[in-house]
């Protein structure tokens, strides 16, 4: 997928003024927030499990080469073909090859963000293949020639009315006067159409939520059952997984699965969690005859020696974006690449470079909610701040911005000058703010005042007020001590 991350500011501006999008966003991520909270409350151990999950992932990353080797050994013993892809282009080439060897015409796909990352659909279509997304949200997005706007709810930016309009526009083989009032009627229509694709498909491609070193298995987690029909009906099942997906044992994955659905959709458990190990066995009447796993690096190994290693703990639940005030305001597309929200603001610059995606970590209020809900306890604000530092070091910023930061740094490191300067500024702005206590317009702050008033300082700095309050509190404390 070609990034548009460098146009982030413009993307965000357009998103804020897109009425359809704003309607779709109102309430949807909020619903997921409430459901997660309820699921967490039903499991008193949830917060302790986050520590367990973090430790499992940290341990596995520490021995990543060995766990991948163990996984590969067991997978091959079960009959899997394992392919290693250092880059997106390598992965595309490998999958193209598998499809050609299978004589494929129709390829069905389960949901996979990794396949978005390597821009697989366009590549396979260019080879003359029909590629069909089968997750309902992915199908909607594919019909509209869009990309997912959320990692677990790809069509969260669409309203039901838009879906109906698209189905009427594109499913032209169906009667024009059919009733499509209920969401269930739309789901049924897609089910009938996609059922035929599952049956006709030659190759089924899925992602992998995890790989298990103990057994050589790959795992998918879904609610619709589309991933299972994709991988069970086609002759060839291709899994695409990144190197960070491996876990040691079934016990380890059990603990992490306790966190995944609860964090993602607020379900206690997703409807379908499927472990695939090798192709169909002798005597099996169904299942794929061939099972391939393509393991992709695409820049992840380079994070291991850096502080960004922690982002590799991510299990792609989407909780960070559901809770993010910026994501809730602009949706996923504005982020300009595969992974939106706070995880995207950390992962995208890590994978495609701060130079290209430096605006994303700036699009955060650092409210800290993402870290507070992350089931793997990834310190997302800290990692965004590291990207900001890199961006500053690269000298990538506009000169005014850079000069402002340098001036600020110079003043902030000199306490006496800082105190004088802020006292002066607070007094001046406090007086200028007048009776309203706010500015409707302010030079150098039009980015703020265009949308809302800027509250004026009340005439005193925080340091002044703090000192006074401390002095005020000193006496009663001392009095109590004497009295006791």
């Amino acid at each position: 997928m070609k990034p548009t991350t460098s146009a982030f500011k413009n993307n965000a501006y357009l998103a804020l003024h897109d009425e359809q999008l704003q309607r779709a966003l109102s309430g949807l991520p909020g619903g997921l927030v409430a459901q997660r909270s309820a699921a967490r409350d039903r499991l008193p151990e949830f917060e302790d499990l986050r520590d367990v999950g973090r430790d499992i992932r940290d341990h596995t990353l520490e021995y990543l080469d060995l766990y991948l080797t163990e996984w590969e050994r067991r997978a091959i013993a079960a009959g899997a073909h394992v392919h290693w892809a250092p880059t997106a282009a390598d992965a595309r080439g490998i999958i193209e090859h598998i499809c050609r060897d299978a004589g494929a015409k129709i390829v069905t796909k389960g949901k996979s963000m990794l396949s978005e990352e390597i821009a697989l659909n366009g590549h396979l279509e260019a080879q003359g293949l029909e590629v069909v997304e089968t997750d309902l949200g992915e199908y909607l997005v594919q019909l509209r020639k869009e990309v997912p706007s959320h990692i677990i709810a790809p069509a969260i930016h669409l309203t039901q009315g838009q879906v109906e309009a698209d189905f009427r526009r594109l499913h032209t083989h169906l009667p024009k006067d059919r009733v499509l009032v209920e969401a269930a009627q739309l789901v049924d229509e897609a089910r009938q159409i996609l059922r035929q694709k599952f049956i006709a498909a030659d190759v089924g491609i899925t992602g992998a939520n995890f790989l298990i070193a103990e057994t050589g298995s790959s795992i998918i987690v879904t609610n619709e059952g589309n991933g299972d029909l994709t991988q069970s009906l086609a002759k060839t099942h291709v899994v695409i997984a990144s190197i960070d997906k491996v876990l040691p044992t079934l016990e380890d994955v059990s603990s992490i699965l306790r966190l995944l659905a609860r964090s993602a959709t607020g379900q206690d458990f997703s409807t379908y969690t499927t472990f695939s190990t090798g192709p169909r066995r002798p005597g099996d009447p169904d299942g794929p005859l061939n099972y391939h796993v393509v393991v992709l690096d695409n820049g992840r190994s380079e994070l291991l020696a850096t502080e960004m290693r922690e982002v590799l703990r991510c299990i792609r639940c989407g909780a960070c974006m559901n809770h993010c005030p910026v994501y809730n305001a602009i949706g996923g597309h504005a982020y300009g690449w595969v992974y939106p929200g706070p995880i995207g603001a950390v992962l995208t610059p890590s994978l495609i470079g701060v130079k290209q995606a430096g605006d994303l970590p700036n699009a955060s209020t650092f409210c800290g909610k993402c870290e507070a809900v992350c089931p793997m306890k990834i310190p997302l604000p800290k990692l965004m701040r590291l990207h900001r530092e890199t961006e500053f070091d690269l000298g990538n910023l506009p000169w005014g911005y850079s000069l402002g930061l340098k001036t600020w740094a110079w003043i902030a490191r000199r306490p006496r000058i800082y105190a004088i300067a802020t006292r002066f500024a607070a007094a001046l702005l406090g007086a200028a703010g007048g009776r309203n206590g706010a500015f409707r317009r302010l030079p150098f702050a039009s980015g703020w005042t265009r949308h809302r008033d800027l509250p004026a300082p009340q005439g005193y700095t925080f340091q002044q007020l703090w000192r006074e309050q401390q002095a005020g509190l000193e006496r009663p404390t001392a009095a109590r001590r004497t009295a006791g």
């Binding site: 309430g27 619903g31 008193p44 151990e45 499992i56 341990h59 520490e62 021995y63 990543l64 080469d65 079960a78 290693w84 892809a85 250092p86 390598d90 309902l136 909607l140 709810a153 790809p154 879906v163 969401a183 789901v187 996609l194 059922r195 599952f198 103990e214 050589g216 298995s217 609610n223 619709e224 589309n226 299972d228 029909l229 069970s232 009906l233 190197i243 040691p248 044992t249 079934l250 016990e251 059990s254 603990s255 379900q267 206690d268 458990f269 997703s270 409807t271 379908y272 969690t273 499927t274 472990f275 190990t277 005597g283 099996d284 009447p285 169904d286 299942g287 190994s301 380079e302 291991l304």
Partner: protein, 242 residues
């Protein structure tokens, strides 16, 4: 250098830069971890609870996920329960099912109206019948292992899925279900597919509204069969419950 070598060289370089640990010690740590199958804490909703508690929790969790749970006092009651369920939902009395010996041994003759079609599911099949290796109480989750006995397509193609599980195979946490899978298939081995199933298929992709019956079954009916001391069961390689 092969693609594989390129990736592993980069991973090792990244790890060595962060924390150099002698290679031999690393290999032992990994081998021990996989061999030990260390269990992390299990939720209090199942840990240390009685089998009756597990059975009750399994039922309530399963029902909370829009599934039907029926009880069979003895294996011979199963065909009758299935017939009644199919009639109640106005479904055809035809079942697609695998070669599962336990299911085959049920007294189907008592329900002459029911026909059984052996093998994997075909697109026209409306009802699939499977047997679960385990049922997990903590989230109301069936564990079904694929094979000639329980073909994987039965779990997803038919609109209605009926799953039989013996009461003795109802366990508390997921970890206990893995013990049953390991007992059947061996250490570090799995069948082609293990499906963990928690309710009928669902989606919320259209306007955030939850719809039951997305691509997989619209209905899931679980029949829990009271265990018989004398019942012969080919899959019955389970551990004695404490």
């Amino acid at each position: 250098m092969s693609n594989r070598d390129v990736i592993f060289a980069k991973i090792r370089k990244g790890l060595a830069a962060a924390a150099p640990v002698p290679e031999g010690r690393r290999a032992k740590i990994v081998a021990d971890r996989i061999a030990a199958k260390h269990r992390h804490p299990t939720p209090a909703r199942v840990a240390g609870k009685s089998h009756a508690d597990h059975a009750a929790l399994f039922r309530s969790q399963m029902e909370g996920q829009s599934a039907t749970v029926l009880d069979a006092e003895k294996p011979s009651d199963v065909p009758g329960l299935i017939s009644a369920y199919l009639r109640q939902h106005n479904l055809p009395a035809r079942l697609a099912t695998g070669d599962d010996a336990y299911l085959a041994a049920l007294n189907w003759a008592n329900e002459p109206a029911l026909t059984l079609k052996r093998g994997h599911a075909q697109p026209a099949d409306e009802v699939g019948l499977s047997r679960a290796t385990a049922a997990v109480a903590e989230t109301g989750t069936l564990v079904i292992a694929s094979g000639a006995d329980n073909p994987v397509t039965l779990n997803f193609l038919p609109e209605t899925h009926i799953v039989v599980v013996e009461d003795q195979d109802v366990v508390g946490p997921y970890e206990e279900a893995w013990m049953k899978v390991r007992a059947r298939f061996g250490d570090r081995a799995m069948p082609r597919t293990v499906n963990m199933i928690s309710g009928p298929s669902r989606t919320a992709d259209i306007g955030g509204k939850l719809v039951t019956g997305a691509h997989g079954p619209r209905r899931l009916c679980v029949i829990v069969v009271k265990s018989q001391q004398t019942a012969a069961s080919p899959n019955n390689l389970t551990f004695a419950r404490p």
